[in-house]
């Protein structure tokens, strides 16, 4: 079953000042699958993820070479509107970052700035996406409360709902469960698995077992180099590169 690549990274190199973080990375990320980027700390996982929605732009001294095609459009082309690129992707960060406003306003933030609503429907949009993120039952009676009063696990699902409300096609997760307790982590993982039917999911994780649980496709990065990528089962059962094998067996971490 061949899927068209939703995101195509071509010869991507990223430099922070003189330091090369990503070395000539090329990978096609399959549609409607969960792709996990794995590798030891500091290998460039997060950089690769952030390069997908141009969140590297605001960082000082960053240089990007190569291309990232999303739906066939090079997002680093000067003619590409960065807000349109980012709108296509919802982001879950390591620590959930709720916006300084109410629960309702957090979810409504995206639809409001993109004018994707008429006032009567905004409530429905918020409810729909909170349900999608599995948070609705817990917050339906306190939508006006500040988002900061939610638990960290709830905030992460709020961020998911907020990202989904922009109607993206892609969900990016930067170790989205690293700040969460096991229960909340499981909850987020379950959401992601449900969501891959409608979205392309890319998750950075340093937890191998998590990658095994949720990923369909694996990309292994080591020292900025994309060592190996392929369907999860193949990689886990039969890593071709000795470095991948070493990482999977815990020899390098």
């Amino acid at each position: 079953m061949e899927k068209r690549p939703h995101i195509s990274v071509q010869n991507l190199s990223v430099y922070f000042d003189e330091l090369q973080i990503l070395k000539d990375v090329s990978i096609d990320i399959p549609d409607h699958r969960i792709t996990a980027i794995i590798g030891p700390s500091g290998c460039g996982k997060t950089t690769l993820l952030k390069s997908l929605n141009r969140l590297l732009d605001p960082i000082d001294g960053v240089r990007v070479n190569g291309r990232v095609l999303v739906d066939g459009v090079d997002i680093y082309d000067p003619g590409t509107e960065v807000t349109e690129v980012r709108k296509k992707m919802g982001l879950l960060s390591q620590r959930p970052q709720a916006l300084p406003m109410s629960i309702f306003d957090n979810v409504a933030y995206g639809p409001r700035i993109h004018n994707r609503f008429d006032k009567t429907r905004l409530g429905d949009i918020v409810e729909y996406h909170l349900r999608l993120a599995g948070l609705w039952e817990e917050v339906k009676d306190r939508l006006d409360e500040p988002a900061s009063r939610l638990s960290v696990g709830q905030q992460q699902r709020l961020c998911l709902a907020r990202g989904l409300a922009v109607a993206p096609e892609i969900i990016l997760g930067d170790e989205p469960t690293s700040a969460l307790d096991p229960q909340s982590s499981q909850n987020v993982e379950r959401r992601l698995i449900e969501l891959k039917r409608d979205y392309t999911v890319v998750v950075v994780t340093h937890i191998l077992r998590q990658a095994k649980r949720i990923a369909d496709y694996i990309a292994f990065l080591y020292l900025g180099e994309l060592v190996e990528h392929g369907p999860a089962q193949e990689i886990f059962a039969n890593p071709r590169d000795p470095r991948t094998r070493a990482y999977l067996t815990g020899e390098i971490s």
Partner: protein, 292 residues
């Protein structure tokens, strides 16, 4: 032997702790004592001259050194002046601060130059602002007026407000920006809807500090706003201010008028206090959404 050595060390450490505690308590005492002493002096010396007429009437009895009437002219003048200057300062300060924090890169030369300018401007004595305002006034053929005063005081308030606001906005975590950007928000939307909201209490404090400096400053309005017994009805009329009222009243040889200076000082102090408390009460409403 070893035991004794360590217990001796402990005693010495406890002694240091004790000395430092005394020093700290002393410092706190001095600060609080000063506050009580200043407010006490003003009230004690001003109370005899304090009456309802002080805050409801303009001066009577010839020129501003009269012993009758009140200082309503200066109260209203100061409020006009400081309010106008503060609004003006916000209009210039907020965009600059948002620019260097949201738009400019972290290590941008322009941003550090701007911050350096704030520091230099902050350090310029207010009499220099007054003199500068005076020169500009003469150049444009303007007379001492509320307008000239507002412009000069706005200039004085600008670096104070900007620097305080910059400190607050710099504390906003990078990830909060990313969260907003990743939803497809532009920098402007992020700045106004997320950053300003997150920093609102701090920004309010910045505005208050600037307002306090503006309403309390005498030197910058000496040449620019002038002084008058009347309440200004247009921007081009001169305006009285409380600091100058105090200055002139203190400068007279009449003890009754000098007493009125202390009453004026008390009024100025209470005015600033009331406005601070009001603004803080208002600010409380906005703190509930802040992300910690």
């Amino acid at each position: 032997m070893n035991q004794a050595g360590s217990s001796g060390g402990l005693r010495r450490r406890k002694l240091k702790e004790g000395i430092f505690r005394v020093l700290m308590a002393g410092a706190v005492l001095i600060v609080v004592g000063c506050l009580i002493l200043i407010v006490g002096t003003i009230i004690w010396k001003g109370l005899p001259a304090m009456n309802l007429a002080m805050i409801t009437q303009i001066p009577k009895g010839g020129f501003y050194l009269g012993k009758e009437g009140g200082i309503l002219n200066a109260i209203v003048g100061s409020l006009y002046l400081a309010a106008g200057a503060t609004v003006l300062a916000i209009i210039f300060s907020l965009p600059v601060v948002l620019y260097i924090n949201v738009y400019a890169k972290r290590q941008s030369r322009l941003a550090s130059l701007t911050r350096f300018s704030f520091d230099v401007l902050w350090g310029i004595p207010s009499i220099v602002y007054g003199a500068f305002g005076f020169i500009i006034m003469i150049y444009f053929g303007l007379r001492a007026s509320l307008l000239a005063g507002i412009l000069t005081v706005a200039l004085l308030e600008f670096p104070i407000m900007s620097r305080a606001a910059d400190e607050v906005i710099r504390m906003v975590p990078r990830e909060l920006f990313d969260a907003s950007y990743s939803l497809g928000a532009t920098k402007l939307e992020t700045a106004l809807k997320v950053v300003v909201r997150q920093c609102l209490p701090g920004l309010l404090t910045a505005v208050l500090i600037a307002f306090g400096r503006g309403i309390g400053d005498a030197a910058s309005v000496l040449f620019t706003a002038g002084f008058t017994d009347r309440i200004p009805t247009s921007l081009l009329q001169p305006a009285a201010t409380l600091p100058l009222a105090i200055f002139f009243q203190l400068g007279t040889p009449f003890p009754e008028v000098q007493q009125r200076a202390y009453a004026s000082a008390a009024i100025l102090t209470v005015l600033i206090l009331v406005i601070s408390l009001l603004a803080r009460g208002l600010g409380k409403k906005f703190t509930r959404h802040i992300i910690k």
